[in-house]
């Protein structure tokens, strides 16, 4: 069994509540940092651990904390990003629902490190019942002296508040989140200035994902060296993967970042293989925004090496033959799935969620959705496929926020790897209404170019 750091205690009865959590060693990291470490010590520990942001971009967490401006007399804010809206991703929800005190503990330690006396958890509004769970955990923590004024006599004050959004994927983008937290529409801000300089109410702000902030607890408890030893190279520690689609056992799994993609999909410890004895066709390994890969490129890199569940290995080959670990939203497609329909569904999602500020994103997402619908319903032309590719290439890189890229990449990758299937929809329009293209050659071993 792989080492668990975040889900270590998940099986303990009553772990959702304070008593069981505390009895099993909870809040030890708060005692440790408040009694024996300075804020900079904590930041250094996180730097040395190699922890990278678990929200999708994988930016080194300690380094981000180090960038925070610290002008005298100006409050600083830590914001926990619990917006979790990237299709395929449902891991933060799992942590908050089952072991909320782990997040609260991580938030107190991280707030101390960055000097935030007032920390907000921005949570997607649909998670109404999780708001209640978190509110209760915060109240319990406060009643037991872990929050409030002068915590453990250290002189450090901290309050944590839960703040629900109201249904908008874009509010997961950190500057849109800040706008939303200020009570406005979730329109991303032009960067720079970055939140580290001007964030919430123009004050220096750090935004981190739920899983990132929870991981700070084992880093403090076991030490950065222990943590950095897990995984491979710059993919340090454990990662939560939310696995879904056509697998036998959808769910949230904590992996050490040193296993192969094949093991993750087929072993009984994790996904348990493809459901109903079907064959693997494709996978989106890191949430809807990352490139989709056909089975052959998913299990092996273009160089013929085993593809591993790490940031580096999943992106090996760049966007031509690779993908990304992203948020860990692992979506698996079996041989019966239609790539055109799936790409259409993602485009509809991005069309719906675009904030509308930039014309390439606002117009481009709608146009892509329309063309994909035409192809899917037998009204497409071959030149539409090229048009699609051209539209996505004009959105990417030409927008205020990375949402534009996120909307483009899935379309680009689908056409790049599954062009036959798109063409088949056009040339066999009638047949395509009756059946799916199937596995075709997408699982066949690729010829590895001689090096």
């Amino acid at each position: 069994m792989a080492r668990k750091l975040l889900l270590e205690k998940i099986g303990i009865e009553g772990i959702r509540y304070y008593d069981a959590y505390r009895k099993s060693g909870g809040y030890a990291s708060v005692e440790k940092v408040l009694k024996t470490m300075s804020p900079d010590d904590v930041t250094n520990e996180v730097k040395k651990s190699g922890l990278r942001g678990r929200g999708g971009a994988g930016f080194p967490t300690g380094m981000k904390w180090g960038f925070l401006a610290k002008p005298q007399g100006v409050p600083r804010y830590l914001i926990c990003n619990a917006d979790e809206s990237e299709p395929g991703t449902f891991k933060d929800r799992y942590l908050m629902e089952h072991i909320p005190h782990l997040l609260i503990e991580g938030l107190i330690v991280s707030s101390y490190a960055v000097g935030s006396n007032c920390t907000y958890i921005y949570i997607r509004g649909e998670f109404g019942w999780i708001v209640d769970i978190l509110e209760q955990a915060i109240a319990e923590a406060k009643n037991n002296g872990w929050l409030g004024k002068n915590i453990l006599g250290s002189g450090f004050d901290c309050e944590i508040y839960v703040h629900p959004g109201a249904g908008a994927y874009i509010c997961g983008e950190e500057t849109a989140l800040l706008e939303s937290l200020e009570g406005k529409r979730g329109n991303p801000r032009i960067k720079p200035p970055f939140p580290a300089l001007k964030g919430l109410y123009d004050c220096p702000t750090v935004v981190n994902n739920v899983e990132t902030l929870s991981a700070v607890v084992p880093i403090i408890n076991y030490g950065s060296e222990e943590y950095a030893k897990i995984g491979i190279g710059k993919s340090a520690g454990t990662k939560l993967i939310s696995a879904c689609g056509n697998i036998s056992k959808p769910g949230v799994y904590e992996i050490e970042m040193n296993i192969s993609v094949e093991e993750f999909i087929y072993s009984d410890e994790y996904c348990g293989g493809i459901a109903n004895g079907r064959r693997l066709k494709a996978c989106v390994p890191g949430g809807s925004s990352v490139p989709i890969l056909p089975a052959n490129l998913l299990l092996k890199t273009a160089k013929g090496e085993t593809r591993m569940m790490t940031y580096e290995s999943l992106s090996d080959g760049g966007f031509i033959t690779g993908s990304m670990l992203g948020s860990g939203g692992f979506i698996v497609y079996d041989e019966d799935q239609c790539i055109v329909r799936n790409t259409y569904s993602f485009s509809r999602f991005y069309r719906h969620e675009s904030c509308g500020q930039c014309s390439p994103c606002r117009e481009g997402t709608g146009w892509m959705k329309k063309i994909l619908w035409n192809i899917e319903t037998g009204k497409g032309k071959i030149k539409d496929i090229d048009l699609l590719f051209s539209i996505q290439s004009k959105i990417e890189g030409n927008t205020i926020c990375p949402f534009g890229d996120a909307a483009s990449w899935p379309v680009a990758a689908a056409i790049r790897h599954f062009r036959d299937e798109f063409e088949w929809h056009v040339t066999n329009a009638e047949e395509a209404q009756r059946r799916n293209y199937g596995l075709a050659g997408y699982a066949e071993p690729l010829k590895v170019a001689a090096s």
Binding site: P87, F90, G125, E126, G128, C244, G245, N246, S288, S345
Partner: protein, 168 residues
């Protein structure tokens, strides 16, 4: 028509939310207060309700309209007593969300986006709700209904009808 007003209890809750933010930043409370308004005043936000919220937070009505029209959880027209919000995004689609939506449409005799003539049910299609591993699924009020099957849909509808009959 009588103007909607929050109860004393609610007004205290609202003060509490406002107190979480620095002085002068009471606008930050807008999203939570709109949620409360929608819950208390019939499941949707009328212009009167939005104006009322604006006056409570001491901001302009337009600031409330801007926000209410941006976020998908706010209903700007009346909805049924029970709102089924079925996820239709890719991962749910791979697990049969399309046939669940079709089944509900047939069973209730409405299309997505519509409300039954008895005012009991509204069906909406929504995008990913972070429950992809428990698909197909839908949101109903504050809870998620997951691993949906036709039988499960039948029993949810039945429960709603019974609940409505008891509460009338």
């Amino acid at each position: 028509m009588v103007m909607n007003k929050f109860s004393e209890q609610r007004l205290k809750e609202i003060d509490n939310v406002i107190s979480r933010f620095p002085d002068g930043k009471q606008k930050s409370a807008l999203l939570p207060v709109l949620h409360m308004a929608q819950e208390d005043f019939g499941g949707w936000l009328s212009v009167e309700t939005m104006d009322y919220v604006a006056s409570l937070l001491n901001i302009l009505p337009i600031e409330v309209y801007e926000v209410a029209t941006f976020y998908s959880m706010y209903n700007l027209k009346p909805v049924g007593k029970y709102v089924f919000e079925v996820c239709q995004t890719g991962p749910c689609m791979t697990r049969g969300s399309e046939s669940i939506i079709q089944y509900i449409e047939e069973k209730l005799g409405i299309k997505a986006g519509e409300t039954t003539s008895d005012g009991l049910f509204t069906l909406k299609t929504v995008e990913c709700l972070a429950a992809c591993g428990y698909a197909p699924m839908m949101q109903m009020g504050k809870s998620y209904k997951e691993h949906l099957t036709k039988e499960k849909v039948d029993s949810i509808i039945e429960e709603c009808r019974n609940h409505a009959a008891k509460n009338n």
